[in-house]
């Protein structure tokens, strides 16, 4: 898995690429934790390049969302979610827990 991080003035954009499973999910968690630990809680995660995400990846998303939403200080939004991953999010009941955007500009503009 590859992770790219772009820091904007008011938010952070993280682009993940490849496979997110029990082997690689800690990498994603680490990248997201680094942002929240620096006191930044408005994050857009672009999943367009992600081919596969197991429940280990879903856990990383939920844990980050809990941290971001605490005290209403921000949130994690998802961008370009591939259809299969969307189906897994839906099955887990996670769709109402995340705003999902179809393009990065809209996600960043609304954060």
């Amino acid at each position: 898995m590859e992770i790219e991080h772009i820091q904007y003035k008011h938010c952070d954009l993280v682009k993940a690429k490849g496979r997110i499973d029990s082997y690689t999910a800690p990498q994603l968690s680490e990248a997201l934790n680094k942002i929240t630990e620096s006191g930044r809680y408005k994050i857009a995660l672009d999943l367009s390049g992600v081919e596969f995400m197991s429940s280990a990846g879903l856990r990383a998303l939920i844990n980050t969302q809990k941290v971001c939403k605490r005290y209403n200080r921000g949130e994690l939004v998802l961008v370009n979610v591939p259809e299969n991953i969307r189906a897994a999010l839906d099955l887990a009941g996670f769709i109402p827990l995340f705003k999902i955007y179809d393009d990065v500009v809209a996600a960043i503009g609304n954060l």
Binding site: R19, D21, S22, Y23, F52, S54, S55, A56, L58, R59, I62, N63, Q65, K66, K69, E83, N84, A87, A88, L91, A92, G93, F94, L97
Partner: protein, 146 residues
């Protein structure tokens, strides 16, 4: 379609998951499943293998995972065998997809996805380890098929 069986051994470590995924995907593709069903089979097997490493072996590099794939007219059957501690995921409380964010729990999602994505999930404990059988039908049975 003629019956087809294949067996492979993988090291019980998380780094094996990509290779396991590739193997399962290839077999499901050969069996003629749709892209979405291939994804669901791959995810169910990935969850099963992660559980074996975490719970049966209680860590990485403690043992192997033996995967057997059988395809026939009925569908695709994956049998996963390990030589670890007896582990029954049914003892872990199921997750609650309707729970609010703060109450979402970390564990139990692996079995949940296996049960949701596959048509049959059977656990068996043998004297040497665990045996899990996952089945995906080509067609979900309807009343007319019975």
């Amino acid at each position: 379609m003629s019956d087809h069986s294949i067996k492979r051994r993988f090291a019980g470590r998380y780094a094996s998951l990509a290779e396991i995924g590739e193997f399962i995907r290839r077999e499901a593709q050969k069996a003629g499943f749709s892209d979405f069903n291939i994804y669901t089979i791959e995810m169910a097997v990935d969850e099963a293998c992660s559980n074996i490493i975490e719970h049966a072996y209680q860590g990485e590099d403690k043992g192997e995972i033996l995967l057997s794939v059988h395809t026939d007219e009925k569908g695709l059957t994956v049998v996963l065998e390990d030589y670890g501690q007896p582990f029954d995921p049914r003892t872990i409380p199921p997750p609650r997809p309707d729970a609010p964010l703060e109450e979402q729990r970390e564990h139990g999602w692996g079995l949940y996805f296996m049960q949701q994505w596959m048509d049959e999930v059977h656990f068996e404990f043998t004297p040497t380890g665990n045996r899990l059988r996952l089945v995906k039908y080509r067609h979900t049975p309807t009343r007319d098929d019975r």
